[in-house]
């Protein structure tokens, strides 16, 4: 299991390098924000550990906070990225209008 997971880990790392190295400077901030949202995947960890049935109030409180944090990371991250990118989206449309 460990070796399988390590193989996945290494391959995922190379995908990360390959995909990202082609990004223009302009999109760096939205990109950082987008990748930031993706590591909100930690939310899954909270769901798994809490869902497995932990005992004790403190453990449950810790995990609810963790799930809340993870959700903020995901929801906030994608929304902020979308807001930033929404500003780029209008450009090509507007320019083609101007040319007509």
């Amino acid at each position: 299991m460990l070796l399988q997971n390590l193989a996945i880990l290494v391959l995922a790392g190379f995908i990360g390098f390959a995909v990202i190295s082609k990004v223009p400077n302009t999109l760096h901030t939205p990109l950082m924000s987008g990748t930031n949202a993706i590591h909100g995947i930690v939310l899954l960890g909270g769901l798994i550990v809490l869902g497995a049935g932990v005992h004790g109030v403190l453990s449950k409180v810790i995990l609810v906070i963790a799930i809340m944090f993870g959700t903020i990371n995901v929801v906030g991250g994608f929304l902020v990225t979308d807001r930033m990118l929404g500003m780029f989206k209008r450009k090509p449309a507007e320019r083609s209008q101007g040319e007509q």
Partner: protein
């Protein structure tokens, strides 16, 4: 059901990767972001389909609270505050990782009976997650200017202090690995790593903050991947690792744009000596102040104007008036372009986002390498709230702390107009030689107000 979950995870990976590929081009970026977000929904649903998953009320409570906090925070934040928002969202991600490890420690009775790699991965995630949480909070504080932007350091004791804290965290971790299940040990790891996060970021100057946020982003990704290893969850491994890899590349590119190595940034290079160097040779130099009407006349009769935006434009929310000014000039037959330094503002692409918000055509924004040769053929360079990225000292003063940093060659333009609130130094705390150049004139005041005045005058010309 496990097979269904795994299948859905595979769908989610494809969506993450395809989404990220979309994020690499302006036309596909919005769609890419949506696809990645949809991938996240698939991954969450798949996880909730795991057999025997329980405690639904608490799961719903956690997600509900997160949505309630996250949506308004993301909706209401101003475009200028974007960088600190990214820092904050990154921080909570790291915090979640650390908390999950702590809960897992409690759940498993101190990782009793877990394989060695699970313990190592969990403790790695704890340290990096806590460090990222507190480090991001300091970065947020500095960008929001709650915490002073200048470096706060323990001087010579800084490095030993960092090392001591790291050793403390690792020491507690080793004790856990050696089979001691006392909860104080994991709390020790958390505390040492948290304080380390604080003291590592505090000595770093505000100007380097974007690089730090990017670095912490990569760290959080790695810690998520480590948690995935510990919990044997492929989705977390893949998504976390992709972020770890991409974040490292982004950090490297940002550091290179500032001609700084990541190591020297983390070591807190921009120390107190900076101010001493800067004040030494500025005694008898004079600065020329100008008026809005003079600026309007200068620009109205120019052939080419290059606008150099910086953080000052972001603070004053001046992007819309700057766009109006540019339109007015274009109507008068003046060619207007924008010169974007890779690290102008507080993050790469910060200026592009703001100008795009103000409907500035995408093709008028020029990268540093494309436009630097153009300055020599330019009549007026209008610097709106940019400072360090225009400082010729980076080119010709080897004693300057920013020497070697690529800059916009604004001083090659025939005349330079600098819009600035005061003579205060920029984020790096260094005086700008450009302001003492005889062909430079300064228009003091809030960027938005002053550009507005220039527009009024320009209409009258």
């Amino acid at each position: 059901m496990i097979n269904l979950r795994t299948s859905l995870y595979i769908v989610a990976f494809a969506m993450f990767i395809y989404g990220l590929m979309g994020l690499t081009g302006p036309r596909t970026a919005v769609r890419g972001n949506l696809i990645a977000a949809a991938g996240m929904v698939v991954a969450i649903v798949a996880t909730l389909l795991t057999p025997h998953i329980g405690d639904w009320p608490l799961i719903i409570l956690g997600i509900g609270l997160g949505v309630l906090v996250g949506i308004p925070a993301a909706r209401q934040v101003k475009m200028t505050a974007m960088p600190q928002m990214v820092a904050l969202f990154n921080g909570v991600g790291g915090g979640a990782v650390a908390l999950i490890s702590w809960a897992e420690f409690r759940h498993s009775g101190g990782f009793a009976g877990d394989a060695a790699y699970v313990i190592v991965a969990s403790l790695f995630a704890t340290i990096i997650g806590a460090l990222s949480f507190w480090g991001s909070l300091v970065a947020f504080g500095k960008l929001q200017e709650i915490v002073p932007g200048r470096p706060i350091s323990a001087g010579r004791l800084q490095q030993p202090l960092n090392a001591l804290l790291l050793l403390g965290a690792i020491g507690c971790a080793i004790a856990i690995g050696a089979g001691d299940h006392h909860e104080l040990l994991i709390i020790g790891v958390l505390i040492f790593a948290s304080v380390l996060g604080l003291v590592v970021v505090l000595p770093i100057g505000g100007a380097d903050m974007p690089v730090v946020v990017s670095l912490l982003n990569a760290c959080t990704g790695l810690s998520a991947a480590a948690t995935g290893l510990a919990l044997n969850n492929t989705a977390m491994i893949v998504a976390g690792m992709i972020v770890g890899a991409s974040g490292s590349i982004l950090t490297d590119q940002m550091a290179k744009a500032m001609n700084r190595s990541i190591v020297s940034i983390v070591a807190g290079g921009f120390g107190g000596q900076v101010v001493a160097v800067a004040t030494g040779d500025s005694v008898d130099r004079t600065v020329r102040a100008t008026s809005a009407s003079d600026v309007a006349i200068q620009m109205a009769y120019a052939n080419r104007v290059i606008v150099v935006p910086g953080y000052g434009m972001a603070v004053a929310q001046a992007q819309h008036v700057v766009r109006d000014l540019a339109k007015l000039l274009e109507d008068k037959g003046v060619e207007v372009t924008y010169a974007i330094h890779p690290v102008a503002g507080r993050m790469p692409g910060h200026m592009n986002v703001l100008l795009a918000e103000a409907d500035v055509p995408y093709d008028q924004l020029k990268d540093m390498d494309d436009i630097n040769d153009e300055f020599a053929r330019t009549d007026v360079a209008l610097v709106v709230g940019a400072n360090d990225v225009t400082n010729p000292a980076a080119r010709n003063d080897p004693s300057s702390p920013i020497h070697g940093m690529p800059i916009l060659d604004v001083d090659h333009a025939k005349t330079v107009i600098v819009l600035k609130r005061s003579m205060n130094t920029g984020f790096a705390g260094i005086e700008n030689q450009l302001y003492f150049d005889p062909k430079t004139s300064m228009l003091f005041g809030d960027a938005k107000t002053m550009v507005g005045k220039v527009i009024e005058e320009l209409k009258a010309v």
